[in-house]
């Protein structure tokens, strides 16, 4: 058994929260670059050029890419043989608070959804813990902006709706999101599980780099079909029209009940951020 001090988790979370907010991952940058080469519509090109220029400027000046520095979604994969000498949730939240202060990030969290008092330090984070083999802890921080989060959906489809039903559901969610979700979007889809599980799968799907194909050929093909359909919508960057509505689609599936086909779509903007470290 390996003992890991909670401070090591806090330090990593603080670093990752800042890093994710300032540096756009290379897979997203490459996808924007490719989109720019293929985008024929002029208002759309102007948006893509600005997105590209913005990523350079954020990194060069150490300023967040987007002012919505997000709700901190923190995914921990904890090895069975790792022992944390303290409260893991407290460790994560102190890292988020420090990252928020040291990185000059925005305090975007309210303590209560109806009474809406800002907590002032972007805590608490949404923490998801999974137990895995080994004695390490893999920490991923994915700050999630709410312009796109607000356009996300869960729907309980019927088993007979099948893949067609899932495709129609995803396409209509992105179509309805229009320019509000900051397209070009990255789309995470969760199918199967239960009502709640599907939504978490959709969020986890967003963590997969765009240049990494789905390991299951059936879902890899479904992702290609979805991406093609989304880019045929014509919504375009910022909703100004154009070929580039989505940069990528990622699907995760899970076993489900004989009576159900839960489906969730988690829409993410072109600033789809995540940073990972192994402690």
């Amino acid at each position: 058994m390996r003992i890991i001090a909670p401070e090591r988790i806090s330090d990593a979370v603080a670093r990752l929260f800042i890093d994710a907010n300032v540096r756009l991952p290379p897979d997203i940058r490459a996808a924007v670059g490719r989109a720019l080469e293929n985008e024929p519509w002029r208002p759309a090109r102007r948006v893509l050029e600005t997105i590209d220029e913005n990523a350079d400027e954020a990194e060069a000046r150490g300023i967040p890419i987007c002012q919505d520095t997000g709700m901190a979604c923190v995914f921990l994969e904890i090895g069975y043989d790792a022992h944390i000498g303290g409260d893991v949730y407290e460790a994560v939240n102190s890292g988020v608070a420090r990252g928020c202060a040291e990185g000059y990030l925005r305090a975007s969290i309210v303590r209560d959804p109806l009474r809406r008092e800002n907590t002032g330090d972007n805590t608490p984070a949404a923490v998801y813990i999974e137990l895995v083999p080994g004695d390490n802890i893999k920490i991923t921080v994915a700050p999630k902006g709410f312009g796109s989060e607000n356009m996300s959906r869960v729907k309980m489809l019927r088993p007979s709706d099948g893949a067609r039903g899932v495709i129609d559901f995803v396409v209509s969610a992105v179509e309805d999101a229009g320019g509000s979700a900051c397209p070009p979007v990255v789309v995470g889809v969760g199918v199967g599980g239960s009502f709640d599980k599907a939504a978490l799968l959709a969020k986890r799907a967003l963590l997969r780099p765009l240049d990494e194909p789905n390991p299951d050929p059936y879902y890899a093909e479904l992702e290609c079909e979805l991406l093609e359909k989304l880019n045929a919508l014509g919504t375009g960057p910022m909703g100004f029209g154009g070929k580039t509505t989505a940069l990528g689609v990622s699907v995760l599936s899970a076993p489900t009940h004989i009576a159900g086909l839960p489906a969730a779509v988690n829409i993410s903007c072109h600033v789809t951020r995540h940073a990972t470290e192994i402690v």
Partner: protein
């Protein structure tokens, strides 16, 4: 819609509505002058002030409101990241502010029929800045002063002085709307 698209028309703010009349959805503009930031919580406060007949914290006539909540400035910076937020959340208050003199709104995403109606009636325009381009847009802010509601933190009203702040005319004073027409025109162009 204006098919020239790429033009970057310089606009000085504040601005009287007559000077906005020639703008068409799809035009590119570069803003210089004064913007007031206000988002959800500040709009609720502005409505409360109007309800109770109290004066607003800034002159609405000819003003431009920017739907934005910047990140705090690191030492040596005027503001941090300062891109637009989703405008539709401010639709509940916009018609009222437009009818009281607001000329210009800057945000992202489509607006309600009520907002567009008020804009046409009064000659206001709605501009879209690139969502998620906060680092670049924040870099175009020369000055930032707190105007009202400091307790709202990032949601407080600030007077920003900007220079060459890039935006696109999303809805013009005749109701021309890039969110419906841009998509339709693009789809026609690839047929």
């Amino acid at each position: 819609m204006n098919r020239e698209f790429a033009v970057k028309l310089p606009i000085k703010l504040p601005i009287i509505r007559e000077d906005l009349a020639s703008l068409r959805a799809g035009d590119g503009v570069l803003l210089s002058g004064v913007l007031y930031t206000a988002r959800d919580a500040a709009h609720m406060r502005l409505c409360e002030l109007l309800d109770s007949g109290e004066p607003l914290p800034f002159e609405l006539r000819g003003a431009a409101i920017y739907y934005a909540g910047p990140t705090p400035p690191p030492p040596g910076f005027v503001v941090g990241s300062a891109g637009p937020t989703t405008s539709s959340r401010m639709d509940f208050a916009a018609p009222r502010l437009i009818r009281r003199g607001l000329s210009c709104m800057i945000g992202k995403g489509a607006r309600s029929a009520e907002v567009v109606e008020a804009m046409k009636e009064c000659g206001a325009v709605y501009l879209a800045a690139v969502g998620g381009a906060g680092a670049l847009l924040g870099g175009r802010v020369l000055r930032s002063e707190l105007v009202a509601f400091p307790e709202l933190g990032t949601e407080a009203v600030r007077r920003l002085t900007v220079s060459d702040f890039p935006a696109t005319v999303a809805i013009d004073s005749l109701g021309g709307d890039i969110y419906s027409e841009g998509r339709a025109e693009y789809l026609r162009s690839i047929k």
